[in-house]
C-alpha cells in the first residue's frame, strides 16, 4: 500500500510536469503565431513561466528531494501547478474559463496528500469565488451561473477526499495486518523452537482428547511422529498403565483428573508402552488449559522417561533393605548374648561388668532401632507398606500411651500428664475417633513423648487433646531445651539431626520424626512443631475426625477383608504389624534402671530419633 501511494505520487508529479510543460509550450506557440489571441500579456507570460518553473522543478529539485521526501516535493510541485492553473484560468476568463476543469483535477489530486491539503485548496477556491463575486458585483445571474459550478467543485473535493481517506485507511489496516502476521509467524517460530528444544515430552490436547501439539521429545519418547499423532486421541498415543500394569481407567486418567479437579496432576508411577511396544517408566504432569471463565479448553501434558532414575532408586532401596536385613541377624545375636550375660539365672558377672554390659545392651538396642527405622523408611518410600484404616479412639490411645511412658518420665523426675478438653476448654474426656492404624498412631505418640522426655531436664510433659467436628488435635508439650528456629523447618526431614554437643554424644537415626510425619500424612493429617529455645517445645498433629457414621462404616469394613489404602506414592508409610511396646519403648524388661549420672545429664539424653 505504501508502494501504491509512492506510485500515485510519482505519477502525479510527472503529470504536473507534463501539464506545466504543455502550458508553457502552448503559450509560447500561441504567442509566436498570433499574440493577439492572448489577453493580458504579463499574466500570460507569468503563466508560461510558472509552467516552465514546474517543469524545471520536476527535472531538477524533484529528482533530488523527491528521492527522499517524495510527498513533500510533489506538494511543492502541486503548489506551483496550482498557481499556474490559477493564472491560466484568470487569463482565459476567470470562473467561466474552460480550463476551470483543470482546477477540479488539482482538487482531486490534493486528496492524495491529505485532508489538510484538500481543505486548503478548497478554501482557496471559495475565497476566489468570493473575490470574483465582489469584483463582478453581487447580482443574481452571476450567482446562479456559478453556484452549480461551486457545488460541483465542492462535491469533487469531497468525493476525492472520501476516496483517499478510505484508501489510506485500508492501507493502514493492511499494513497493520502485515505487521501482525509477521509477528505471528515470528512467535510461531519461537514457540516451535522452544517446544522442540524442551527435553521433556510436551503434548497439548483439546477437550475431545485430540492431540493438538506434540513436540520433538514427545515424538522420541513415544515413537510416534508428529503427523501421525496429530488429531488422534491422546490415550492411543500415550498408552499409560499403572505400575502394576493395569490400564488407566476414566477415574485414574490424569488428563481427566486435571479437568475435573481443575488443577495440575503429577504422577511418577506410570508406565507407558511406546509405539514399538517398549515399556518405559514415566513422570507425567498434566495441567488444564482454561479460558477466562475458568472453563477447561484443553490440557497440556509434560512427560519424561524416568526408567533410569527408578532403577537406581530401586537398587539403592534394595541395598539398604538387604544390608539392614543382613546386619540385623548379628545384631540380634549380640543383643541376645548380652541379655544372657546380664541375666542372673544364666550367667554370673560382677557389678562392674554388669554396668558395661548394660551400656553395650543400650547401644546395641539403638543399633537395632536404626536398622528397623531404615527398613521402615525404605518400605515407606517404595510404597510397599499399606495401612488398614480403622476407627481409633484417640483419647483411649493417649491414655494408654501416657500410662506406658509414666515409668520412664518418673525415672527422670518429670511429670507426665494427660489433659483433654473440648473446644470450650472443659476438662472432660470427649470421645474422638480418627481413621488411622491404631498401632502406628500409638507409635507416633510414644515417639513424641519419648523425645519430649529426652529433651526435658526438669518440669514436665503435658499431653493434650482437643477437637471440633472436623479434626482432632494432639499436642505433646514439654518444658525442655526447645528447638532453634532454624532447625524447625528441617525437623521432619529424613536423617536430619540437630547438630550440637547433645546430639553428637547420643546417637539418633534422624528418622523418628520423619516416620511420624509419614504416618500422620498417610492418615490424612498434618504434624508440626512450635518451640522457643529454653522455653520448651510443643509437637502437634491433627487428624480428620470421623463422624459416627464413618466409624460404623469403617468398623464394618474392618470386619470384612482389609481395605488396602496403598497408593503408590512416596508418602506411604506404615506396615501392618502388631508393634509390641518393648521394641519402641525405651523401657526394656531386662534393662536395669538407667544409672543416675546418665539420667541427670539432659544433654546426653537429647536426641532426635
Amino acid at each position: 500500500m505504501v508502494e501504491q501511494r509512492q506510485r500515485s505520487l510519482t505519477l502525479l508529479a510527472r503529470l504536473q510536469a507534463a501539464i506545466g510543460g504543455l502550458i508553457m509550450v502552448t503559450i509560447f506557440t500561441l504567442y509566436g503565431l498570433k499574440p493577439s489571441l492572448l489577453g493580458d500579456a504579463s499574466s500570460t507570460m507569468a503563466a508560461a513561466i510558472m509552467g516552465a518553473l514546474g517543469l524545471i522543478y520536476f527535472l531538477t529539485f524533484h529528482q533530488v528531494i523527491g528521492r527522499r521526501r517524495l510527498a513533500f516535493s510533489t506538494l511543492i510541485l502541486t503548489v506551483i501547478t496550482a498557481l499556474n492553473f490559477i493564472l491560466v484560468i484568470a487569463i482565459t476568463g476567470g470562473l467561466d474559463s474552460p480550463y476551470y476543469s483543470l482546477w477540479l483535477l488539482a482538487i482531486v489530486a490534493a486528496g492524495i496528500f491529505g485532508t489538510v491539503e484538500t481543505v486548503v485548496i478548497l478554501s482557496a477556491t471559495i475565497v476566489y469565488y468570493a473575490y470574483e463575486l465582489i469584483i463582478e458585483g453581487l447580482h443574481a445571474p452571476f450567482i446562479m451561473d456559478h453556484l452549480v459550478q461551486l457545488a460541483i467543485t465542492i462535491l469533487a473535493a469531497g468525493l476525492a477526499e472520501w476516496v483517499h481517506v478510505r484508501s489510506r485507511r485500508v492501507a493502514a489496516q493492511t499494513n497493520k495486518l502485515a505487521t501482525l502476521s509477521g509477528k505471528l509467524t515470528e512467535e510461531q517460530l519461537k514457540a516451535q523452537a522452544l517446544m522442540s528444544s524442551i527435553g521433556e515430552g510436551v503434548v497439548v490436547v483439546d477437550m475431545d482428547g485430540q492431540i493438538m501439539l506434540f513436540n520433538r521429545a514427545a515424538q522420541q519418547l513415544t515413537g510416534w511422529d508428529e503427523a501421525s499423532a496429530q488429531n488422534i486421541a491422546y490415550n492411543l498415543v500415550l498408552q499409560l498403565h499403572t505400575a502394576d500394569d493395569k490400564d488407566i481407567t476414566a477415574d485414574t486418567d490424569p488428563f481427566r483428573q486435571a479437568w475435573t479437579e481443575k488443577q495440575a496432576v503429577v504422577r511418577d508411577d506410570l508406565v507407558m508402552t511406546t509405539r514399538s511396544g517398549r515399556k518405559i517408566q514415566l513422570a507425567l504432569s498434566v495441567s488444564p488449559i482454561t479460558d477466562n471463565d475458568d472453563t477447561p479448553t484443553g490440557a497440556i501434558g509434560l512427560f519424561r522417561d524416568i526408567s533410569h532414575e527408578k532403577a537406581v532408586e530401586r537398587q539403592k532401596d534394595e541395598f539398604v533393605s538387604t544390608a539392614s536385613h543382613e546386619m540385623r541377624t548379628p545384631v540380634a545375636a549380640i543383643e541376645g548374648y548380652i541379655a544372657l550375660a546380664m541375666n542372673a539365672n544364666v550367667a554370673t558377672v560382677d557389678d562392674r561388668a554388669l554396668k558395661y554390659l548394660e551400656k553395650a545392651h543400650e547401644a546395641i538396642q539403638h543399633l537395632g532401632e536404626l536398622f528397623r527405622d531404615l527398613l521402615n523408611v525404605t518400605k515407606a518410600e517404595e510404597g510397599k507398606l499399606s495401612a488398614k484404616l480403622e476407627p481409633v479412639n484417640v483419647g483411649e490411645l493417649l491414655r494408654s500411651a501416657v500410662e506406658d511412658m509414666q515409668f520412664v518420665a518418673q525415672k527422670k523426675g518429670l511429670t507426665l500428664v494427660l489433659q483433654t478438653s473440648d473446644s470450650i476448654g472443659k476438662a472432660i474426656a470427649p470421645i474422638y475417633y480418627v481413621g488411622a492404624n491404631g498401632e502406628r498412631l500409638r507409635e507416633v505418640v510414644m515417639n513424641l513423648i519419648d523425645n519430649a522426655i529426652k529433651y526435658t531436664a526438669q518440669g514436665g510433659i503435658k499431653v493434650g487433646m482437643s477437637g471440633d467436628n472436623k479434626e482432632v488435635k494432639v499436642s505433646v508439650i514439654d518444658s525442655g531445651v526447645g528447638i532453634a528456629a532454624e532447625d524447625i523447618p528441617h525437623l521432619f526431614q529424613k536423617f536430619y539431626r540437630i547438630d550440637n554437643s547433645a546430639t553428637r554424644t547420643i546417637g539418633g537415626t534422624g528418622l523418628g520424626l520423619y516416620l511420624c510425619r509419614q504416618m500422620i500424612e498417610l492418615f490424612n493429617g498434618r504434624i508440626w512443631v512450635e518451640s522457643k529455645p529454653n522455653q520448651g517445645s510443643s509437637f502437634n498433629f491433627s487428624l480428620p475426625r470421623l463422624s459416627e457414621e464413618e466409624v460404623r462404616r469403617l468398623q464394618q469394613a474392618a470386619a470384612a477383608p482389609a481395605i488396602d489404602t496403598t497408593v503408590a506414592t512416596p508418602g506411604n508409610v506404615v506396615q501392618p504389624t502388631t508393634e509390641a511396646g518393648p521394641a519402641l519403648s525405651p523401657q526394656q524388661p531386662i534393662a536395669m534402671p538407667i544409672p543416675a549420672e546418665q539420667a541427670e545429664n539432659p544433654h546426653q539424653r537429647y536426641r532426635i530419633r
Binding site: 536385613h325 540385623r328 541377624t329 548379628p330 540380634a332 545375636a333 543383643e335 541376645g336 548374648y337 541379655a339 544372657l340 541375666n343 539365672n345 544364666v346 537395632g368 536398622f371 528397623r372 527398613l375 499399606s386 488398614k388 482389609a562 506396615q575 501392618p576 504389624t577 502388631t578 508393634e579 509390641a580 518393648p582 521394641a583 526394656q588 524388661p589 531386662i590
Partner: protein, 122 residues
C-alpha cells in the same frame, strides 16, 4: 518340666534362646531346619514348639501345616518367630493354626520368654 522344641537355623540365636529357656527351667531340644524339626517333634512330643519361619529346605509355614495334619503333633502349641512383618504372613500363620505369631524385630528375648510362659500356662 515342660519340654520345648526350638527350631532355628541361626546357631547363635539357637544358643541364646536355649540358654534363656533353660534358665526358666524348661527342657530344651533344638532343630536347625524344617526336616529335623518334624522328625524331632514326632519323636520327642514337645509341649511347645518355637518355630522360625525363614529356614532352608522346609519353611516354617510348611512345617506348621504338616504338624497340624499329623495326629501326634496336632495339638502341640506353636509360637512362630519371623522377620516377615507383612500382615498377609501373619494371616497365613493364623490360618494354619499357630498359637502365637511374633515378629523378631519387634520383640525382645524377654518377650519371647513371656510368650512361652503364657502358652505353657506357667
Amino acid at each position: 518340666m515342660a519340654k520345648i522344641l526350638l527350631v532355628e537355623d541361626d546357631t547363635n540365636l539357637r544358643e541364646i534362646y536355649s540358654a534363656r529357656f533353660a534358665a526358666e527351667n524348661y527342657q530344651v531340644i533344638t532343630a536347625s531346619d524344617g526336616e529335623e524339626a518334624l522328625a524331632t517333634a514326632v519323636r520327642e512330643r514337645p509341649d511347645l514348639i518355637v518355630l522360625d519361619v525363614m529356614m532352608p529346605k522346609i519353611s516354617g509355614f510348611d512345617v506348621l501345616d504338616i504338624l497340624r495334619s499329623t495326629p501326634e503333633t496336632k495339638e502341640t502349641k506353636v509360637i512362630m518367630m519371623t522377620a516377615l512383618s507383612q500382615d498377609t504372613d501373619r494371616q497365613r500363620g493364623e490360618s494354619l493354626g499357630v498359637n502365637q505369631y511374633l515378629i523378631k524385630s519387634q520383640v525382645t528375648l524377654e518377650d519371647v520368654v513371656n510368650a512361652v510362659k503364657q502358652q505353657l500356662g506357667a
